[in-house]
């Protein structure tokens, strides 16, 4: 929530000493409001004022980091209800649920599979983020052993689902950096808060209603526990969806601090059907989940969820593009075929990975279409014969290959005639429509 310069000025020392680099406290306050300065540039500002200002300028939904280093997960800091209003910022994290009653070998297998389910798509690495270890046995020793085994098998940060004593016991054996403690409730609030403070770890808060949730987080905030994650306690799709909408709105539109935290959701505890679990997870990915806990992250489900998350969290104002030019793939040489496509990252990614997969050496020509896909660019007049011809002619393609043939996408077959006219001396061949048909097509060329 932005503060005005005047509002900030009220809390300044008003001595106009100039040590901040501007002549007056008012000028400094103005600069601060405009984002051109930071508060620590004034050595005299009081602690109370600092806290107040930090509070007022804090994001409406607090950013919370779980874990440390390469595998740390940051959630929260969202600013809008609908992605087209700006963008969604910190993608929801997927957590695999492991219970300490499960067979150790089965757990090891699941974790190995989870680690393996890592993919690359449109220049992003897609994977799960957390493992939630639950003290289902009620036995602290079992929990301790399970946490040790999980932490030994995978680098992903953990969510520790147990009572404070069991968590403390487990951490005494396995030191973890910023695990998410799950969860403070009305019954254990003081003990959990003390533990979170001692460990400097983020804390989940579980309540039976939104009323109670707000009370608990306000209390925790008062105790100095700030890195919170909310669990409104609902375990049906309908109620959870409603809670997610309410909490996001309360934080963004009503600026209710007690609700200004990311949210943890539990498809794993809402259904026993594996496919329905994936759907619940999809809904919480779309509508405001910060962490999504699942029992089943088998590749066919995990990959679909990762792609959905990537889609939803793509910045709508910035189509991802790649640079224009001819790229050799699989060690293309002077005899290799030449394919033409657009510079929309998604199109480029799909086409280039099919060519790579075919193992056939080929040149891929990327036409600058302002980041539009094949048909979109064609309809917008950016992937049309004169532009493609100019691209080919101005490039050094003629010196790279001995033949004079270019292959265009099947979906724009209609431009082949005109392109051939514009590209004197070149033959234009229409390729298949879908990139997935490219390997067979390229192999048949030989």
């Amino acid at each position: 929530m932005a503060l005005t310069g005047m509002a900030i000025f009220k809390h300044m020392p008003k001595t106009n000493c100039g040590q901040c680099g501007v002549p007056t406290c008012l000028a400094f306050a103005m600069k601060l409001a405009a984002g051109g300065a930071s508060l620590d540039q004034c050595p005299f500002v009081s602690e109370a004022a600092k806290e107040l200002l930090a509070e007022a300028s804090a994001p409406p939904i607090r950013g919370v980091v779980i874990g440390e280093g390469e595998f740390a997960l940051k959630i929260g800091e969202e600013l809008v209800m609908h992605r087209h209003e700006k963008t969604f910022f910190n993608p929801a994290g997927y957590a695999l649920l492991i219970e300490d009653t499960e067979d150790a070998a089965a757990v090891a297998g699941k974790l190995a599979a989870l680690k393996a389910a890592t993919y690359e798509r449109v220049a992003q690495k897609l994977r799960s983020n957390l493992v939630a270890v639950k003290n289902a046995s009620g036995d602290a020793a079992k929990f301790t052993a399970c946490v040790a085994a999980v932490a030994g098998a995978i680098e992903y940060p953990l969510v520790l689902m147990a009572e404070p004593a069991a968590i403390e016991a487990a951490l005494a054996v396995t030191a973890l950096k910023r695990p998410l403690l799950y969860a403070a409730t009305k019954a254990n609030l003081d003990a959990m808060a003390a533990l979170a403070k001692k460990l400097g770890a983020p804390l989940a808060v579980k309540a039976v209603s939104l009323d109670e949730l707000g009370e608990l987080t306000a209390k925790l905030d008062g105790m100095g526990v700030k890195d919170l994650v909310l669990d409104p306690g609902s375990r049906t799709l309908k109620e959870t969806h409603q809670n997610l909408v309410y909490i996001r709105r309360a934080a963004l539109k009503k600026k209710l601090r007690p609700f200004g935290y990311p949210i943890i959701t539990f498809p794993a505890e809402e259904t026993t059907d594996d496919m329905m679990e994936t759907i619940h997870a999809a809904i919480y990915t779309i509508k405001y989940g910060g962490i999504v806990v699942l029992r089943d992250l088998s590749p066919e489900k995990a990959y679909a969820l990762y792609v959905l998350r990537q889609n939803i969290y793509t910045d709508p104002q910035r189509p991802m593009q790649v640079e224009q030019g001819f790229y050799p793939i699989n060690g293309a040489d002077e005899n290799s075929p030449v394919l033409i496509t657009t510079n929309f990252s998604l199109t480029y990614f799909i086409v280039s990975s099919e060519i790579e997969g075919s193992k056939v050496p080929a040149w891929l020509g990327i036409v600058d279409t302002d980041g539009l896909s094949t048909l979109t660019a064609w309809a917008a007049g950016k992937f049309v014969p004169d532009r493609i011809a100019a691209f080919v002619t101005k490039s050094d393609l003629a010196s790279k290959v001995k033949h004079r043939t270019v292959i265009i996408p099947g979906y724009v077959a209609q431009l082949s005639g005109e392109l051939e006219e514009e590209l004197a001396g070149w033959k234009v061949v229409v390729g298949p429509r879908e990139a997935s048909e490219l390997p067979a097509f390229l192999k048949a060329l030989k």
Partner: protein, 313 residues
């Protein structure tokens, strides 16, 4: 501190359209965003139309053929199975075979198929052309005439042929689905053009184009959301038509939906993968506000139906 629910009510609502005659289906009518039953009324919820093709599709995934089974290639039996066994709310008959660049079936042939399917089913019928705008103009006029009194949806009307299709719909009492490419203003403009022709507003549906999961879904998601926000929060009458997401077709083009486990072991169970791809695409557009989902795989349909029930439309 008691939590004050931040409800946002709307005085505007989506136009309520009743389709079909024998077993009617009503869409629209809601005055809140998708599944926001906590702040409005959602009398109907999203409905599922299942696709049936006039000619045997050449390039469908094996999993689809398996799931559709013995009726594959027989539009009448296929439509009956969708209604009886798969529980489709509507049937969307795709006259892909009429494409002049494909099988080029004649209008008369296609109309015979339409009539046979219309007779065989009780649920409402949607009839789509091949997407060739000239042929569709001629074809859909004949379709509207042949199905007069059955309260069908014809489509897709596009910029190039909306006049003929709009006139046919008006003349024979059909509803029209108009397609525009992922653009709120274009969707609105097409509805304005159709109403200027004289097509009543309560005969119009909006198809804002669909991109599948991983293939432009984000654009499609946001266009559905923006249409619903404009309709409900800005009371934009031209965008208050129920919306359609023609997603089965897009999903099953995607490699991830089609490829077998043997060819892509890293992506897991090949059979479930296609179903999940369709289910998640449908989930996303439904959460964004789509009123009719055009789908293919019977198991994906079942899962979406269950999701709708759980969310409590």
């Amino acid at each position: 501190m008691a939590f004050q629910a931040p409800v946002e009510t709307s005085t505007a609502k989506i136009r309520e359209l009743t389709l079909g005659t024998k077993k009617t289906v009503t869409v629209g009518g809601q005055n809140a965003l998708a599944f926001h039953s906590f702040e409005g009324t959602l009398p109907n919820g999203p409905k599922i139309a299942m696709e049936v093709y006039d000619t045997t599709p050449a390039d469908w995934a094996d999993e689809l053929k398996r799931a559709i089974g013995d009726v594959w290639g027989d539009p009448v039996a296929w439509a009956k199975k969708c209604e009886g066994e798969f529980g489709a709310d509507l049937i969307c008959l795709q006259l892909a075979g009429t494409d002049p660049n494909g099988a080029n079936r004649s209008v008369a042939d296609a109309v015979a198929t339409v009539k046979a399917v219309a007779e065989a089913i009780s649920v409402p019928l949607m009839v789509y052309g091949s997407g060739n705008s000239d042929k569709d103009a001629e074809l859909l006029k004949a379709v509207a005439e042949a199905t007069q009194g059955k309260n069908v949806i014809i489509g897709l009307a596009v910029e190039e042929n909306y006049k003929s299709i709009g006139a046919a719909a008006m003349g024979f009492g059909a509803k029209v689905s108009g397609e525009t490419p992922i653009d709120v203003n274009m969707a609105k403009q097409l509805n304005i053009l159709l109403t200027n022709l004289g097509v009543p507003l309560d005969a119009l549906l909006i198809d804002p184009s669909t991109g599948a999961l991983g293939y432009g879904l984000e654009y499609c998601f946001s266009i559905h959301e923006r249409i619903k926000l404009a309709a409900l929060k800005q009371n934009d009458a031209m965008l208050q038509s129920p919306t359609i997401a023609n997603l089965g077709k897009e999903v099953w083009r995607a490699k991830e939906a089609k490829i077998s486990q043997a060819d892509a072991p890293q992506w897991g169970d090949g059979r479930k993968r296609g179903i999940i791809w369709e289910t998640l695409t449908a989930t996303a557009v439904m959460m964004a506000g789509a009123d009719i989902l055009i789908m293919r795989h019977p198991e994906a349909v079942k899962l979406i139906r269950k999701t709708i029930a759980e969310l409590g439309a």
